[in-house]
Symmetry: C2
Subunit: 135 residues, 2 copies
DNA sequence: ATTACTGTATTAATTGAATAATACACTTGA
DNA sequence: TCAAGTGTATTATTCAATTAATACAGTAAT
């Protein structure tokens, strides 16, 4: 379609987590934060596949699963749009909770590396300052 | 063997990352932080496999790879011990750097969830306070 | 010597994920 | 009407990871 936002997805085939899951998770987050609003069109499976050098069917698998979850709606012959479903839009506390699994991982790693919470906090601060994004 | 520390490894078959890699990564961290000292014995492949309901060959694959990397040494007929190799022992700044890939992931997720650095920092603080470990 | 441990080599089978190449039904603008 | 665009079903193939069931050579204590 003509109008579809640049999603800026990060897809890494060697990352361990399946590609279709990476796509699902990231689109879900963009919808949760309303970076993708209800009705917004998504890039076609072929476009997205070419952008990330992956197979269109892999993108389709992600889109289909998101449709089952009620996050996307399929418009036959047109494409996928963000579903009219406010359950997919999360408030701040719900979105923060989505960081938990990664924080569990971070905490496990730090523990095994014998890094204290204080040392970790100050390092994260430095890290974020260096990898600054625009808020 | 009789003497082998409880490693407290966290193995999740459904985690996406291969089981043998999960084991490798965690043992490498324990050695880096000297939680496992040079000469320390590791649990036998059969014991570790039973503890986590996985296959002994999967553990063996992790051990072999760590031997190739110089982290472990195989004592034939006895078992695996931490190799006499100070390169595996990392100072604090090197250990902190090992958190980078998980921090990249955290930062990506937060960005897509439209969570600011400040909001994330204060949430992490709460999270760590709640999931307190002993430092 | 026997027993009970080590790690590992081997072979076979299974599973999940991804790719590739078509094909089809649908929509829409020219 | 036609051409170009949607997502998807289908079939076959490839690949990595894991499991399973043995088997073997080495060590060490009884």
């Amino acid at each position: 379609m003509a109008n579809s936002k640049l999603l800026g997805l990060h897809v890494s085939p060697s990352s361990g987590t399946p590609i279709y899951r990476q796509i699902m998770d990231q689109i879900q987050r963009l919808v949760a934060s309303k970076s993708l609003a209800i009705g917004d069109e998504l890039p076609s499976v072929r476009i997205l596949a070419e952008q990330h050098a992956i197979n269109p069917m892999t993108v389709s698998k992600a889109y289909s699963a998101l449709e089952v979850q009620g996050v996307l709606t399929r418009l036959r012959g047109k494409g996928m749009v963000v579903a009219k479903n406010k359950d997919s839009q999360l408030d701040l506390s719900q979105r923060l909770a989505q960081l938990d699994s990664t924080l569990e991982m971070l905490s496990l790693e730090a523990g095994q590396l014998n890094i204290s919470d204080e040392q970790m906090m100050s390092y994260i601060e430095k890290f974020l300052k260096f990898h600054a994004r625009k808020n």
